[in-house]
């Protein structure tokens, strides 16, 4: 694929998907991509999120990365922010769980209760994540 082909593909996709974009508005998925997250397979979770969102036809969810959230024992960890729902940290997120989060949390507006791990570790909350 050349850059030109990519440009065309983007233009085509934008026309196709405009109407569904309201679904993911202001939603954020933040994947913990520190050394611990990477070792536990955070890259696979990232891939699964991108693929699952694409399958649902949602293009405007922000998918970003952060460092270690201080929950290394339940990596890969993912923070999900959906307007009107509590900000949630999920732990042990493999590809399967990532798909569930997109389907239930982002689209269905229901928490995936088996994988909730509260908020980031106290020292990180205090320092505002810095």
């Amino acid at each position: 694929m050349t850059l030109e082909e990519l440009r065309k593909l983007r233009a085509k996709k934008q026309d196709d998907l405009k109407k569904r974009d309201i679904e993911g508005k202001d939603c954020q998925i933040i994947v913990g991509m520190g050394t611990c997250g990477i070792a536990a397979g955070a890259k696979l979770a990232l891939e699964a999120f991108i693929e699952a969102l694409d399958e649902e036809g949602i293009t405007n969810v922000s998918v970003t990365q952060t460092g270690c959230m201080g929950l290394c024992y339940v990596e890969p960890t993912v923070e999900v922010i959906v307007p009107g729902m509590p900000t949630t940290i999920y732990g042990k997120v493999d590809a399967e769980v990532a798909k569930k989060i997109v389907k239930n949390h982002i689209v269905g507006k229901k928490l995936v209760t088996d994988h909730i791990f509260d908020r980031p570790s106290i020292d990180i909350v205090k320092n505002g994540g810095k």
Binding site: R10, D123, K130
Partner: protein, 198 residues
Amino acid sequence: MHFFLCDFLLDISQNSLESGATEIKIIISETSNYISFKVVDNGKGMSDEVLKKVKDPFYTDGFKHKKRKVGLGIPFLFQTSKDCKLSSSVGKGTTIFFGFDLTDIDVMPLGNLSLTILAIFSGNCKSVCDVIVERSLTTEKGSRSYTVSRSELLEVLGDLRSSGSLSLAKQYLESKEEEINQVRVETMLDIPEKGEEL
């Protein structure tokens, strides 16, 4: 410990992303029996004194996580790669090289390189930073290469944050990797499946 060689690249590149660099160059050269990675950044660099300490897994400057003694992930690399060189100078930047003998049974599989590049491109960056990846694969049958950069993808896609852009970037990077893997197809019969990573 990391599961794939790609994970080392992602881990190490993140240090460069956080170093305040404005340009990071990643050179990945693979032959039938050897793969090497070189990450060059023009970030803040490290003094000789710090360079000695970064191989200690518990060494940290203490700025990122005040109460935690967790280092840069570099010691993992020195444990795994037999050819690993790190050089740096304050204010100029850091260069790290690491290579693996692919015939060594203890060397882990490469993993999903296109996804790794995507994760680096969309990673947390403290400065306005371009990342350029030069990837080549050379075997007895020939040589192929490609170059991709963060700035060109940003220019075409507008951003590397939204799931739609990331999905398109992923397709683009996968197609590039597939193109050069043709050399492998021509070289041997046991073709590694696309998406080796499970």
